[in-house]
Structures are given as C-alpha cells and as structure tokens.
Assembly symmetry: D2
Homo-oligomer: 350 residues x 4
C-alpha cells in the first residue's frame, strides 16, 4: 500500500484521481488539499463521492503532509507546482506533477511559453516525461514524473510508431485536435459558459497553444532533430474526450496493411492502446471514463496523387489517459505495481 | 463465484451489466446472447469493452446456456421474457428479469397495460419485486426477481418513507419525472434522433406510461388500499439519469427538520440512498454511472397557505440504480454476497 | 417608425432584442448601451450580428439618449432599472422594463423578495404588467410596462383560462418548470460552467424563486383572493426554452374535450398561443427562436380516482416569449402597431 | 413574386426552405410535396411552423405542380432528383436541385461515387454549380442550378481566394471538417441515435466521402489541372453547423497581413462571407440559423520551419449557407432579385 496525497484536489484532475483511487487496491489516500475549500468534506466539492469517500480537504502544509504520505500528485496551477515539487523531492518523496512545470526539458522553452523563468533547472533535468508508451523504463526509476498534457498524449500516441521507425516526413505533421470542455478546467469563464459553449464548435490558439512545445519536444527526441508541427486545438461540446486527427506524409509509399502492422507491432502488449481494425475509426464516446486510447488509420491515396497522406485518429478521455489515469499508470510503474492496477474499469457506454 | 448469463445483451441494459460485472469479484460471465448480433465479439457491440472483455455473443439456446450458468439476467423485450423465465425456473436456475413481465402482480393489470395475457400467473405469484429498500428479505430468498422499472425506482425511493409512516394523503401524489434518452432503449426512432432530441425538452404519455401501474402497485401495498397517482414523464437531452420531482400533501403539519428525520431514519444503513442536507437538491450529474440515489426535500409552506406541499426530489442513473446496478444489487442479495459488491465505484464527475 | 434604445444591451435579452429588431419594419435602433462594453462594436459582443447590424455600444447617458430615442427597453439588473425608468418617464418617454423592478405591485412584496425597498411606489402603481394575453388593453395605453419574467409567462399562459373561468381549486396549483441555461443570464458561474451544467438535470430554489410572487400576484388578481402556488424550477441542458408542467385540481369534473374547448376559446384570436390537439404535448424545440407558446392538456383521471388532476404543459422560448419577443409584442401594442409585427418568423427546427 | 414548389419537403432541408421563405417578400409557396406525409398539414411535420404557415403536403404530381409553380426546389434523394429535374426543365421551369445529381460535371465521376449511371448527361452539361461566390454570373442565367453540398460550401469558401490567385500548392490541401448531426438527414439510424451521438466526437469516411469529388472538381477548375485533396469529415454533437479547418502550403512565403488582404479583397462586396480580424477564429454558434460564412486565418510559421502552413477556418450553418439558404441565394440570382432578399435575419445567439 502506498500513501498518497493530492495537492490541489478540487479541480477536475483532482476529482478524477479520487474517483480512480477508489478502485485501486494498493492506494491509501492520506490527504487531499485545496486552498479555497480547506475544511470542507470532499463530497461538498465532488458530489459524486457522497457516501463513497470520507475525507476532509486541508490546506497545503508540506511538513505535515510529508509525515502522512509518500507519493504526491500535484494538481496545482502551472508555476506553483515547481517549488512544491522541489521541497517534496528534498524530503525524499516521490512526485507526479500534473502541471506543465517539468514537462519541457529546456528551461528557455519553458520560459518563453509560460512567461516565467524555470527556477529549478537541476530538478527539471532529473524529471521524467511520463508517457509510459515512450519512457516506461525511465518512469520506473524516476522520483519526479512530469505527467503529459492531454493534447500531447493524444497526439504522441498517434505518432510514436511512425517516428520510431522514421516512416514519415517529420516536418509534415499536422494535428487537428477536438477537445471536450473539461479540458479547460473547472473555473467558470465566458467561453465555457453553458449557453456559449453548447451548440458550438470552434478553433482556438492555432499554432500557439502551450501544449505545442511539449509535442515537438518528444517528437524531436525521436527524430533526433528539431521538429516543428502544426497544432490546431478545437473545442467541442462534450464533457470528456479528445479526438486527434493527425496528418503526415509517409517518406515512401505505405499501404493500409503496412501501416496497421506498424502500429500493431509498436503497441503490442500495451494494455491501454487499442489499434482498431481497418475501416473503423475512433469515437471519444468509446473511451469516456477509461484509460484507453483507440487508434484508427487511413492511408488517403487517390490513384493518381503522388504523395499519399497518412491519417491517424486517436481518441482518449482527457481526464483519464490525458491526466489522472495516466498519472496512476505512472504511479503503478514507479511503485513496481502491475501497470494496469486500478485502471481496468471500462468506460461508460453510452 | 456465480456463473451468470445475460440474455439480450446488446441493449443498453445488457451493456451496463457487462460494464458493472467487470468490477465484480464474484461474477463469472458464462454467456451473453443477442439474436441480431450472435457470433460477434462483444466489443463490436460495446466498443467501450475493447480490450477489457473477451466474449462472443451467442444465440439464445436455453438448454446449452443452462449448462453454463446458474443465474440469468433477462434483458429481453417485454412479453418475450416470460416464457424464458419460466423455462429457466423449471431448470432450477435463478432469474433476474429486467423486463416488465413479472412486475405487476395482477395478471389483469399486466394484460391491460401490455395488451397480451400473462401466460404464467403461477410464476408471477412467486416473483419478487426487486426493490431492495422495500423487499430486501423477500429478495434474499427469491428465485425470480422482477427488477423494477427505472421510473418506479426513482419515484418509489422518494415516497417509501412517507407511505411507510402514513404521513401523506396517498391520493395527492404527483410525480414529475425527467429522464435521459438512454431510458428509451437502443433502437433508433424519430423522437430519439439526435437533431430532434437534442435541445429539446418534452412531456409524453402523461397519465398513461406503463411504469404507472408499477408505482401504484407498490404504493398501494404500503398504504393497504388502492392508490392512484399522477405520473408525468419527460424527456431531457442527457444520456443518463432520472430526476423525479414528487409532490404530496402531508396528512398533518410537517416541517423540514421532521421530514429530514423521517427520511434519514428510513434510509439509515441503506448503502445507496443518500438524503442530502437541507437546502441541497439532487442533480442527475452526481449519480451518473453509480448505483446511488440522492434525495432532497423541501416543505413548501407559505406562511398563510393552509396545506403545505411536500416536495421530494430524487436522482438516479436510469441504467444503474434504475436497471443494471439494481439487478446486481438483487443478485448480491440472492447469492448472500455483501449487498454492495461490485457497486461502489463512484460515478463520473463531470 | 419608432426610435428605440436598449439599455444594458450586452446580455442575452439585449442581444435577442437586437436580433428581433432586425426583422421589424417600424423600429429604428437609436442606441444601445453597455457599461462594460461601451465603445465596442455590437458584433464584438454578439458575433451573430456581424455584417448585419452596425452599431457601437455606448455608456448610459440618459440626457443624451433621451434626445435620440422615444421608447426605451431596460435590460438592466434588478434594482438598477428603477431610477432609470423613473427619469425616462419624467422625460415623457415610453419604457418597457425587462427587469423585475415594476412587476410586483405591492412594494412590500418587492422588498421582501429583492431585499431592497422599492423607491418609486407611485411609478410602480402606474406600471402595467406586460402579459398581453391578460392585460392587452391596459398595455396599449401604458407608458411603463413591466415585462413579465420568463417562468411567469410560461406558467400564467397555462393557467389563465382556468382561473378566468374559476375552473380549478386555486390552492391546488403546482408548477414544475424546466428551463434552459440562457435563463440564468450571461455571467459565468460554477453552476453554469459547461462541464457541470451539461449532462445534468437539477431542481433549485423550490418554493423560493423570485418569480414565484409574480405568478401568485397575477393569479390572485384573477381569483380575487390571495393565491399561493407551489413552484419548482429546474435546470435542463438546453440553451433556450422553458417547459412548464402544471398541475391543478378542477373544481368539478372536467373531461379532455371540455378542457380543450376552454383553452381554445380563451386563446381564440391570440396570435402566439397555440393549443395543441388532444394527445399532443409541447416540446421546447418547437418554439426555439419564436414568440410562440404551445400548450398541451391532459385530464389525468383514473377510472376510480375521485379527484382528477388537470395537467397543462406549456412551452416557450425564454428569451423570446419569455423576454425580448414579449417586450416587442408590448411595444407593438403601445405604439398601435399590428401586434405581431416583427415577430412572425418561425423558430429553428431542428 | 415567384411561385415556388418544394419537392421532398419533409426533410430538414425542406423545412429550412419553408422557414426561410416565411421571411422572403417575393416568394409564394405554391406547393410542397412528400411521399410519406402527403395529406398532412405542414405543421404535423414541422411543429415550428404551427400557426405560421398553412399548407398541406401533397404527392409529387409533376403535371399538376407545373401548373402551380414556376421555380422548383428539389430536396429529393440522390438519383431520384435526376428524372424530375429533366421533366421540369422540359416544361420550361427553373430548377434548383439540392441533391447531388447535377453537381459532378463528369458523368463517370458521378457513377463511380453514386453507383448508378447518370442518365441525363446533356442536362448535366447545362447545369450550373450554385456557389454564388464562384459562379455568380452563370447562376444568373441558369435554368438548372446544382446547389452545392454542405461540406463543399464550407471547404471551397476557405480556398477560393488562394486558388484564384494560385497562392498555395494545390496538392497540399487537407480539409478537416466537423459537422453537426442535421447534416446526416432526418432519418433515424444507430449512429445518430441520441445516446450514441451525444457526448461523442468521431471521424468517418476519411478520404471516401461523397462530397470529396465535388470539392476536387471546383478546385481543379480553378487550378486548371486535376487536384486531389485530403478530406476528413467528423461528427460533433451539435444540431447545426460545419467548422472546416483547412491546411495548405503557400507556394511562397506569406504573412498574416498578406493572407488577410488576399481574403478581404476576394470577398469584398460579398454579402454573406465575413473575414474575421486577425486573432479571431470562427465558431459555428455565431452562424447558426443564418446564411453567413465566417472565415479566420492563421499563418502557422515557426521561426525556423521552412515551409509555413496556412490554416483557414470557416464556419457555416449546414442547413442554411450549406443548403436551403444558399438555394434561396441562387433563386434570388436566377430571378434577378436582390441577392440577400429574405436572407438577412441574424442567426440565434445563443
């Protein structure tokens, strides 16, 4: 049993960690913090936990918390997670940071996107990017895991096999992602006000979303050279889910069978990534509430078009595989547990 | 471990049973049948089960199935469940029927609402109405449980304490229920076509919905006289959930504190029924995916109005507490398992 | 041509007035004000008006505005509309107030519900409650019209024929109303944050919603005695629409044909109220974007139940018949225009 | 005044024509046909028209209809529109065909996508593709207009300026389109069943949707050589709207200002196409119910990426600019009316 604490537990990611922990046989929730809701019972903040979890939110006193817990999930805002992670690592705790503070390996890149210097470059150097399908062995021995962003998870899972085998022109990648509204967090704002977000589909931050450098960093690592991609996020009126439609030009001719083989081979044995049969394409509905990623493939090659386009579609639940579920998957790896522990409940249908 | 079979597994109720079984430690799924999808893998019908459950749908051969399973869940259409239940009971199997075929104790009432004679009145007499909060001990020893309808579950849970204590005028009851679309089943129809059901709220079948006699039967049993109620079902554009707003006139003055006490007392120890604190009212969102029922109470008594109106609001997930979850709760009781086994996962939020 | 000004034009009601004015042949929009968006072009606030309306929002300078416009629509927050209306009436302007400030004829009732004294009781006494189906002739000669709330409009239209003819026990009325989210206004808040309002149906403020005294006032006027009703508002995840399901006990036996006749007779000649044929019930979808009110009737009388219950269901668009459309209908009456002018465009389907 | 008939009026496109005609001062609806609803009043099929339009659906008797109407809108299924158009043209009627039967100029292309030979190649040769922004003058003198598909309208409006000026590599085009469910028509089917389409985002028919050849035909015409594009349609849970996110590689360096200029110049004077200011991106919500097309532009050029990607986002209402509205725009052109007649009502917000 590992004693865990969730810092910043009142947002959607915190709530999802609590929901998923309830089905995890080796987790004891030692504490959950919230600045604005300290003192409240957890079901005042997450009414779905009524009668299921007895826990009072507390303020974030790291000394006190360090006596209670051994592994910390940071669901804190960007830039505020940094110093907390640093102190906890000093105290020999394991940390899974769900903020962006330790995802970008180059402090200058961090600074240019988050408009503040990274104050812990040494710690940053030791952090491991927590995408198990790419960095599994490093995660196992990491003390600080930077849990990937939701968009990068959906995008990278659609591109790993192609980049690992150098099958596509790395500069040709376009990622058109459609996200549900929970990805925007729990704080109300005009754009997420029901009457304005409902019955609405929109693009935003094309080419300048903060998840872009994260995608480029991991792809660049695989390509062993600097890669730039086009990334277009969209909002769609669903609560959970990201559908990423990814376009890339193959370096040489590829057919559907070969592309399928490439993906199936790369993801063989992966417990959460499912490559759909030819002709089937993913639907966010099929992964809502689960840690699964569904992947579909199309080779779009008209008879007389010179360059085919490979279209890869991935679906994840942004709060599970895109956040809390992946964090628990990382925890399982860090603790030496079975990787799927507490994560095998199917999603809701419908 | 109990070996179970689901007959008619390709609808929403069947899918929900399968989803919930995946978290049940004492259930082995021996078989699942579907006439139209026989031969297909289960994830072709429920894509959320991909990689989670390996099972092929089969035709309904009762002889064969009887060798495989000991407890049967019938998720068959009304009138077709009857003969199947009869044969299975003959074969000494336990049966939980999720259709309406064994809910109405009076064969004549059944015939008048379902337009076909009840052909197994003897078996009907032995069936137990499977609302654990009302008939727990009878369920424990039943061989055939008639799982309640979704609307009756939400309505009855809001009225049991009042009828058990004779606190309201039994003829004053009005039930205004709002249901999500999964309650209408999985077969497409004009009224459930997305563009017509979305952005739409409507009333239907007021005073003539088939769940009405079921509600009246159970209330009449408690009141020891024939009770008639007004029941107004509505469709609201959500996937899951029923909110029942129930109005009743107290026989004598009652205040909020007293009403709260009455409900809390009646539901003391009930694992799935949660009476909310004064001032809080239920939201279907808070129970989606869970077997919980949330109940809120208001005594609407203007200073100078003679008769107060008691307003009780209940929220359930129609596919869980209103169908598959309650069926598993009944199974747990019938098998002597802990009543909450496999049913304690919190619902999704958001 | 009448020159109109909209004060507080940046909310949903203001936007709806602007949308509807664009189809009105006798309205010239002289000005539209917004404190927080003064100086912005109207399409920065209502992107649907891009290329359709050229107008710059301005601050609320009543002296200046009085030189520009002759009829004022006040879409200001409660309590702030009062002094503005007073000054405009002094300046001999006509005023249609869409706030609640002049709806409640008794200043004490106003104070008890809005927690502030009514400072213009004389003006209040001269204001006309703007429900044309009830007060048409008074509206025609009014200088200050208090435009009804959205809930009261839906509720009253379902009850007027019954109260006008004294056909129901006035103390038996229960109104169970389901409203779309635009009714909550344009300011973001947790309860209206998309992920929390979507896939959610909830009751709120049962027995203590501010629209309750407004309903009771008008019914009391018809009944010539003080009437109290039970009013239960609910939120449903649609943008527009209120479905009101209303329950009342007839004073003496009534059958469906007679009830239909009563309603059809009362609403004969009404351009916006449509009584549906027996067996049909309203759907908010069918009136979205239009000034229509659809009404359906059910007499719920089981064979052996002594007292029947009359169930009346009404559907309106809360922003049109429940706000801006009704305000324009009132304007038409006040100006001596044809009552339906600018209001005959059908709603969107789907 | 022109006398029009709508053939196949019971689907969403037919309903939208009727809705829009109600605001058109020069249209007299002479007849509306429906095979399955012949004899029914129009408001039985479109309840939003109750009290607004008095019309009885009739069977499609072309001889009879030809005596009543002069201009025909065909909202018939693909392949059945062909012979009807032919007979009406013989009878010297004007025809606007909203099916796909006269969109593809090459009969062989038609046959390969619609699996039936085109039986009226001569008539096909005389049909005009009804995209006013591209073929305005031809439409004015056409007797048979093939109204564009919804996806092609959204895609082409985003590409016309670039192809007209040869500014992009024509083989680089990728169109990622997100459509609301009304685009799938009014017939119920599993994929459009509310519980399965709600809370769901999915890709379908990538590279093999029937609207693909239509897009390629018009782009090929502009490029004066055969162009192939990648087209990925998606379903998103809204009733109305298509957001098309389009990617293309510029032939030579282009910056945002230049791209904006190009688009603004091309669409100068266009009444329905609005190019948004830099930094703004379209939202389907802002055009729902209107004939508008909103366009936003991003030049996605990382500092050190050689080839920039131009991202164009367009939003239309698939039933208006993508179908019925554009058909009326074409009618206005064919009749010599002002092009915007009956089409200037703003869309609904929210």
């Amino acid at each position: 049993m590992v004693k865990v604490a969730i810092l910043g537990a009142s947002g959607y990611t915190g709530g999802e960690l609590l929901r998923l922990f309830s089905g995890h046989p080796k987790v004891e929730i030692a504490a959950a913090t919230s600045e604005q809701s300290a003192g409240k019972p957890i079901d005042a903040v997450f009414p779905n936990l009524k009668g299921r979890l007895s826990l009072t939110l507390e303020p974030m006193d790291l000394d006190l918390l360090s006596e209670k817990a051994d592994l910390f999930f940071l669901a804190l805002p960007h830039t505020t997670a940094m110093p907390v992670a640093s102190r906890l690592i000093e105290k020999k705790k394991k940390v899974i940071d769900l903020s962006a503070d330790f995802r970008l390996k180059d402090p200058k890149t961090y600074e240019s996107w988050y408009k503040t210097p990274h104050r812990y470059p040494d710690l940053l150097a030791r952090a491991c990017y927590g995408l198990p399908e790419l960095h599994r062995s490093a995660i196992k021995s990491a003390r600080l895991v930077a849990n990937p962003g939701c968009y990068p998870t959906g995008a990278l899972l659609g591109l790993l096999p192609l980049f690992a085998k150098s099958r596509v022109d790395p500069g040709s990648v376009i990622i058109d992602a459609k996200s549900g509204l929970s990805g925007a967090g729990r704080s109300p704002a005009q754009a997420y006000h029901f009457p304005e977000a409902n019955e609405a589909v929109s693009a935003y931050n094309i080419g300048r979303h903060r998840h872009l450098p994260e995608i480029e960093q991991e792809l660049s690592g695989l390509a062993r050279k600097k890669i730039l991609v086009t990334f277009s996020p969209h909002l769609v009126p669903i609560n959970r889910g990201i559908l990423s439609t990814i376009y890339a030009r193959p370096k040489k001719t590829i057919d559907t069978a070969e592309a399928m083989e490439l993906f199936k081979d790369y993801y063989k044995g992966e417990p959460f990534v499912h490559v759909l049969p030819p002709g089937e394409l993913p639907n966010t509905r099929n992964v809502q509430g689960s840690n699964d990623c569904h992947i579909g493939l199309v080779v779009d090659r008209h008879a007389d078009r010179k360059a085919a386009t490979l279209v890869i579609v991935t679906a994840i639940d942004n709060l599970v595989k895109g956040a809390a579920g992946q964090a628990i998957q990382n925890m399982n790896l860090m603790m030496g547990y079975e990787e799927t522990l507490g994560l095998t409940a199917p999603g809701l249908f419908p």
